[in-house]
């Protein structure tokens, strides 16, 4: 019933759900995110089980610096907001505005990655490495896996933005942005648990 939207030049208010393909893409992505929950859940479980096995190396409370974690958290939370503002702009059929918000999202994501790399280098110099202890392995696997997701999101959304200059906003491109935004929120959601379980609880000891 909604297929004509692409033809007559006007965009429906929810372009990501205007076609069956779009709706299926969104549903499929939610199911993928359910699977991601399981993956991250396993990594969290491993981390929680091994967090005290430092093998003589530095402990969580010795390593973690609150200011840098707070800054990273603020950056990622803000990027979640900017990506949802991008989607709201998309719902109003404002292409330039949507692109601007997603560009901000990508820049914030890159800033977060920069902080994380700086942090990992610092830890390395303190003798906290992937192979130095069970704590190290669990920490870098969990936090690094999340960082990998951020990196993937940055690249993915960058490519979508580049493509949107050529393909504009249609019922075909809208679901792609919607799904990328869902992904970005999910990555932020995982970070909420990382800063809580890994960093804040690590500093509590």
């Amino acid at each position: 019933m909604s297929a004509q939207h692409a033809v007559n030049g006007t965009l429906p208010p929810e372009p990501e759900r205007a076609t069956l393909e779009g709706r299926n893409k969104v549903l499929g992505f939610w199911l993928f995110l359910g699977g991601e929950c399981v993956l991250f859940g396993s990594l969290f479980a491993t981390f929680v089980a091994l967090r005290d096995q430092t093998n003589g190396g530095p402990t969580a409370s010795e390593l973690f610096q609150m200011p840098i974690v707070a800054l990273a958290t603020f950056i990622l939370l803000t990027s979640s907001l900017t990506s949802v503002l991008g989607i709201l702009a998309m719902h109003r059929n404002k292409l330039a505005q949507m692109q601007a918000w997603f560009i901000v999202t990508v820049l914030l994501g890159a800033g977060f990655l920069g902080l994380e790399i700086y942090e990992f280098v610092e830890y390395y110099h303190h003798g906290h490495m992937l192979t130095s202890s069970a704590f190290g392995s669990a920490f870098y696997t969990l936090v690094g896996f999340h960082g990998g997701h951020v990196l993937f999101g940055v690249l993915w959304i960058s490519l979508l933005i580049a493509q949107s200059y050529k393909k504009r906003l249609t019922v075909v491109t809208a679901p792609k942005f919607y799904v990328a935004s869902l992904y970005w929120h999910f990555v932020d959601l995982v970070w909420v648990f990382i800063f809580t379980v890994v960093y804040l609880m690590g500093m509590v000891e």
């Binding site: 429906p12 929680v48 089980a49 932020d188 809580t196 804040l200």
Partner: protein
């Protein structure tokens, strides 16, 4: 799909239940502000070292879960109609994750 009966005709105000998505900037800004406040509470609670450890850990977890629900329901729009399967997928995944975490914690620490 019974919930896709919205066309251009009723995109403004005739169908309140379906429309708040398009007017939700304020809603999202409020959620963002609350998220920042909850995060700040979590960080301050740890930094000030004034909260007893046995209450601090549950407090941090509760704050995280509230934030997670914000992400899912406000920003990822799971509060809206037609997200039944999405919720099923997420809660199945979260359920498996939770069971795994509980199993590991019990296995290693008790």
């Amino acid at each position: 799909m019974e919930n896709h009966m919205h066309g251009e005709a009723n995109a403004s105000t005739s169908q309140p239940k379906r429309v708040h998505r398009h007017t939700g900037v304020k809603n999202h800004l409020i959620t963002f502000a609350v998220s920042i406040i909850l995060t700040a509470i979590a960080f301050i609670a740890v930094a000030s070292e004034s909260v007893d450890r046995n209450t601090l850990v549950p407090l941090l977890l509760i704050l995280a879960f509230v934030q997670a629900l914000f992400q899912l329901y406000v920003w990822m729009h799971m509060d809206q109609k037609g997200h039944g399967f999405a919720a099923l997928g997420m809660y199945s995944g979260a359920g498996v994750a939770l069971v795994t975490i509980i199993a590991f914690v019990l296995w290693v620490w008790w």
